[in-house]
Amino acid sequence: MMYAPNRNRPVLVSVLVVLAILALILHQLGQLQPLEDLALGLIQPLFRGALGVSEGAQDLTGGFADVNALHNRINQLQNQVNELAINSVRVRELENENALLRQQLGYKQSNPDFDLVGAAVLERNPDMARVVGQDPTNLTRYIIVDQGSAEGIQTGMPVATPQGLVGRVTSVGTHWAKVLLITDPSSSVNAVVQSTRATGLVQGVTGNLATNDLVIKYVPQGEAIKVGDLILTSGLGGSFPKRIVIGEATEVRKHDIDLFQEATIRPTVDFTRLEFVLILKKFTPSDITQEPTPTATRAPTPTRTPAPAP
């Protein structure tokens, strides 16, 4: 079977262009979802198969020289730094929670007629979702995961790993979902500086795929933000749970003539090696900025020293 003979090609090309525009319009109207769902469902096994090959290729390309060993060592150290950073977040949050509970205890003692019930701050339903593909262009940053509406995934759900925030679900099929990464320039997340509770907006930075830095913008000039400060989700707006780690401030830019200051953030998640993610199907929306500002000094900067062997 041959495809279009030469004499019919101008007509065929016109038809193809019209079809592509029609697909774009139907997609925007939401009419194309069943077809996309079916097609992506059909080729998803191919993605999984190719993943095995790509993981092998990744190992192969990384295994030629000592650079690989150094790379692994850097990764190990980075993981340790991440763990320490996360531990310091936990300790800091426990301190804050402790202070808050003491306040609440005092409140209860001074109001004995109140019936107060403790509640979990964040209810997580940790479905592990495997990353089966990434956006095909250099322009945008999406991943495809193998969990969809059949598993209870919905558009807008936050996505994270134990290391920190990854992004949010933007479209869902039966057994797949597309996730906009927080490193995409079009992404924005309400955030808070852990030590001072200064608020800002974390956005992705335009650049190559190795540049996974983020930037926190719109931090008021009067608020303190320093290199090494940990940046967490604030929960403001209800799109993300509060207290998910985003990253660590690596550079602060402050000009007297500006209303706001901004800082570069190195995310705790390694976006170049995402394999499994957690989709938060349910959480209690709350705003960390409504909580009392911590009184102690800022959180300790994570040390670069490896943790002692057990």
Partner: protein
């Protein structure tokens, strides 16, 4: 190449671009394999076929893209059409045609996508995108082009005359 071979081939190209290439970026960039294949087909293939290749591989890419469905198909069809026109007017037999075509095609491809996204109310920092993403990607695509161009040329020469590539 018959449709029965063409469709699996272009599906494979899309799958490689979505799954394999993101894992082995070159200096932080991944080659736009589908675009390279369409450009190479425009350079060595049957006149008028690149647009069809662009449409088919674009549809497959749309499935793996977070962008609105149809953008890749539309843009790659347009690139294929431009390549077909360029081949008829300028490209065939010209030594500088392949790198020139690849750089131009990458610029048009990325700028068209960003222009469409702008229509969808995306906020685009054009300067940063041009300098930090599009130009380096154009250079990388040009460097990768021979890996696709010569096999396709060989395939075309080795195919029976009654079959079109």
């Amino acid at each position: 190449m018959t449709l029965w071979l063409l469709i699996p081939f272009l599906l494979l190209v899309a799958v490689v671009q979505i799954t394999l290439l993101p894992r082995i970026p070159v200096l932080g960039y991944r080659p736009d394999l589908a675009l390279i294949v369409v450009v190479a087909q425009g350079l060595v293939g049957t006149p008028g076929s690149a647009a069809q290749w662009g449409f088919i591989v674009g549809l497959f890419l749309d499935l793996g893209s977070g962008l609105p469905f149809g953008i890749q198909a539309l843009v790659l069809t347009a690139i294929g059409l431009l390549m077909d026109l360029g081949q008829a007017i300028f490209f065939r037999g010209n030594v500088i045609a392949p790198p020139l075509a690849m750089i131009s095609a990458t610029l048009v491809y990325d700028i068209l996508i960003l222009a469409i996204l702008t229509l969808f109310s995306w906020s685009i920092d054009w300067g940063d995108y041009l300098l930090l993403v599009i130009l380096p990607a154009a250079i990388l695509n040009t460097l990768v082009l021979p890996l696709v161009y010569f096999p396709l040329q060989w395939l075309r020469r080795g195919t029976r005359p009654q079959l079109e590539i």
